[in-house]
Symmetry: C2
Subunit: 497 residues, 2 copies
């Protein structure tokens, strides 16, 4: 057998174990377990983790990679299989087991303490564990050493092909433009009015509508499910088993937009071509590209006038007490209000990037030890004022709001905003080639865009890295101007500027 | 480390893999998967199966068993760990992999063909695969060879400590007595009237009531769940995660009684003492003892007058349109009607045993090649007439009704009836020591019986084999007279004999 094929097949068992691991997690999050049941589940997860570790660090795998690298005239899929296998192998083999265990233990307690600290608005309580998390991440980066810069090494775990310098060069020009734009919109005399969204909307009806919408978006229920959970998420439990979850919390229409978001992730996974199933390439190529898909469906489509032209009458029928006499135009404006606010996950698509830039800059300084953890709350607040013009009233609404740092995730945040920027560029090209897409949405027709994305992005799974993929799709490297232009073209009319 | 302890710890990983396997199955049955998702799940199940096989046939395990067997002065738990480990090891190591694979493949197609054949009432269609299943089971029994008699070897897989001869000696005396009793009841002028059970009962209300009932029976929701599925079942996904399922099909109160049945299985699993958790002993000791628990709760308690004295007013409140003016006594008689009928799973507790004896006798002749598969439908029908006095109108209601033979399960059926007999004996002893239990039920108090069962049966998991356990609990070997006496004492008053 060809050495690359052998390498590829070696990973099919690993993929199955990954899927089993995903089911263990999915079940825990979707099917409220009794509190006494959690320990057993932890032991099962640890066992699969250990089985995966063994397979990912085996001598056999090391040899298979060396053999595969000798093969000449590789096609794109073969090269990618070698690249991704080697990446997985090195990530696993470079980290001493004691470090992995210490990180697992520390992040577990850090998450618990963070939850307490957030409840009590007590950053000092969380500080020692955050300090330890950062130390461990620095140690991890030193071991992995995929880049000379430690923070870039951590970013690479979520976004291969991205470095701190590159992201910084992307974010820098957009930062002041976004700041200005937010000010301009926020000070407009024609701000939308969103009290309509604060009324009561029956959660079961919301769920029903969210289900109807993703059906229309061609979420394939023959190979997936939609369930409820506290935090919405998407996970694949097999190449042909992708599941999303929905929550029905306020304010309206969070249930709808967050379900469309997860559906966007799912459509990506569902679009990967069959040839890649059960290979290491059967997953989205990076966090940012994944997020580009979810955010495109959520915001570019799911908050567009055309989308709601089709759906609004149905919503009026479901919620006549609130919407019967409320005009579509005002509803569309209400769900697109732009407003500096404290909580990232509730931020609109214009201010969102500024929330990310703040975290990105702080993470860089923390990993470079240029700032101390005890300075964080103050730095957070002053940076927040600089970027968004408002100061968090407490740390709950400030530095303590995200789970990421307690989980040891440094380098994850920038991928969220990169996702928006990728979405802006991809969608702009899609529209240039298919200017009639928005009219299609008005008729409840979304398959044109899905076909475009499937053809150009989804089918390839992880064959192409994000930076290559964007060039293949759009002919140029990531350029944040597309996103800015999208924002201006969308929001100036809404704000009557 | 002590060799027995080492052996015991070797199995904790195996138990975790078993639990993971159980989750893969539970999810498939409870969370309707898309039809395209099934293949991937099959691959995952096959992988865990393979990991289990490797661990159960390892040289290391073989050596651990030999070492453990040398240890002197073993306590009951240690002896049982060695016994059960050796049993698991030998079952796995004696079977050639090709045979295991052929059985898996043949039973998979046999189940599909059986479903078709049952739809079409076409036994001939199923016949070749049933023949193959029997050949493979004979081959399996020859390889395992735990008993000189092939059928006993197959029985042993479900009911260690039972043989054909022993079961036959238990069933024989009861067979004619049951036949006579059925005739006597069926020809009584005072047969209950059960048209009340054929009315419509809202499925959601039924589910709600079934939930209330198992709560009262002390199903522990901190370490378990109740869900819905097409076929009710119980499974443990960890030592502290036992889940049951409920269906709400007609006739009433099948939903209630089958939920109590599954709850009985779950209470057994939940009662196993902590010392045994994650060891090979953390499971019911045999199918028959498991069934004794489920049937005891379902029939002995769940169809008793005292149980319904407590619950009937609630049911009347839930279903006033049907039950408001219907007397408790008549309702209790209706749910205890005794009637020869064709389908085993719907049979009452008096005729049930005869359905089993029929299968038990046919299985013995099939495995001994004393009868041909093509004779089966005729033999089934003539035996049915002999035992129950009626003849199935077609094979759907006759030889094609059960899934077991298509799945390659020969030797499973007798454990169902043994379970009833064990239940009769255990319950008789429990009542002798605690004559006030039935009065407790009238007050909605069931914890006395549960404590008794936990103390005498549940806590021990698989430490004691069924034949030892029954002697420990009741002081004598299994004696079917207890069950017969229970039946007479219950049904003579209902039938006013």
């Amino acid at each position: 057998m060809n050495a690359v094929k052998e390498l590829s097949e070696y990973f099919s068992e690993i993929m199955h174990l990954n899927y089993i691991q995903a089911l263990l997690g999915w079940d825990q999050q979707v099917n409220m377990m009794g509190y006494k049941s959690v320990t057993g589940r932890g032991e099962q997860i640890a066992l699969i983790h250990q089985l995966l570790h063994k397979r990912l660090t085996s001598e056999k795998l090391g040899k298979l990679i060396i053999e595969a690298e000798k093969v000449k005239n590789l096609n794109d899929i073969e090269s990618a299989i070698i690249r991704e296998s080697k990446r997985a192998y090195e990530q696993e083999i470079k980290l001493p087991e004691e470090l992995v265990i210490e990180i697992a233990k520390t992040t577990t307690s850090a998450q618990q303490v963070w939850q307490e600290a957030r409840k009590k608005n007590d950053f000092k309580m969380f500080q020692p564990l955050l300090e330890k998390n950062i130390e461990l991440q620095i140690e991890k980066a030193k071991k992995l050493e995929t880049h000379p810069d430690l923070y870039s090494t951590l970013i690479d775990l979520f976004e291969p092909s991205a470095t701190y310098d590159w992201i910084n060069s992307v974010f820098k020009p957009i930062k002041s433009k976004l700041k200005d734009l937010v000010k301009k919109l926020d000070s407009s005399p024609n701000k939308p009015e969103d009290s309509i969204l604060k009324k009561h909307y029956d959660p079961n009806k919301q769920f029903e509508l969210s289900h109807k919408i993703i059906e229309k978006l061609q979420f394939d229920f023959d190979r997936g499910r939609q369930d409820r959970s506290t935090h919405p998420f998407t996970t694949s439990l097999a190449a042909l088993d992708t599941r999303i979850t929905t929550r029905t919390t306020e304010p309206f229409p969070d249930c709808i937009t967050s379900t469309i978001h997860e559906c966007g992730h799912a459509l990506y996974e569902m679009g990967i071509k069959e040839e890649l199933h059960n290979t290491i390439l059967c997953q989205g190529t990076s966090m940012a590209i994944h997020e580009s898909q979810s955010r495109m469906w959520e915001n570019f489509i799911g908050r567009s006038k055309e989308f709601w032209t089709y759906w609004y009458p149905t919503f009026q029928r479901y919620f006549p007490e609130n919407l019967e006499n409320y005009p579509l135009e005002e509803f569309h404006r209400a769900i697109n209000i732009v407003e500096p606010s404290f909580i990232r996950v509730n931020a609109d698509e214009v201010t969102y990037g500024l929330h990310i830039i703040l975290r990105f800059e702080l993470e860089k300084s923390l990993i470079d030890r240029k700032i101390q953890v005890n300075e964080l709350p103050e730095l957070w607040n002053s940076k927040f004022e600089e970027l968004l013009g408002i100061i968090p009233p407490d740390d709950i609404k400030g530095v303590l709001q995200d789970v990421h740092w307690s989980s040891g995730y440094f380098g994850y945040f920038p991928t969220y905003f990169l996702g928006n920027l990728y979405a802006g560029q991809i969608y702009s090209y899609a529209l240039k080639l298919n200017p009639n897409f928005p009219q299609d949405y008005e008729k409840g027709e979304f398959s044109g865009l899905l076909s475009y994305l499937k053809e150009n992005i989804h089918q390839y799974g992880s064959i192409y890295r994000a930076n290559d993929l964007i060039k293949r799709v759009t002919g140029e490297a990531l350029n944040p101007e597309y996103f800015l232009k999208y924002i201006e073209q969308k929001y100036y009319p809404i704000y009557k500027i």
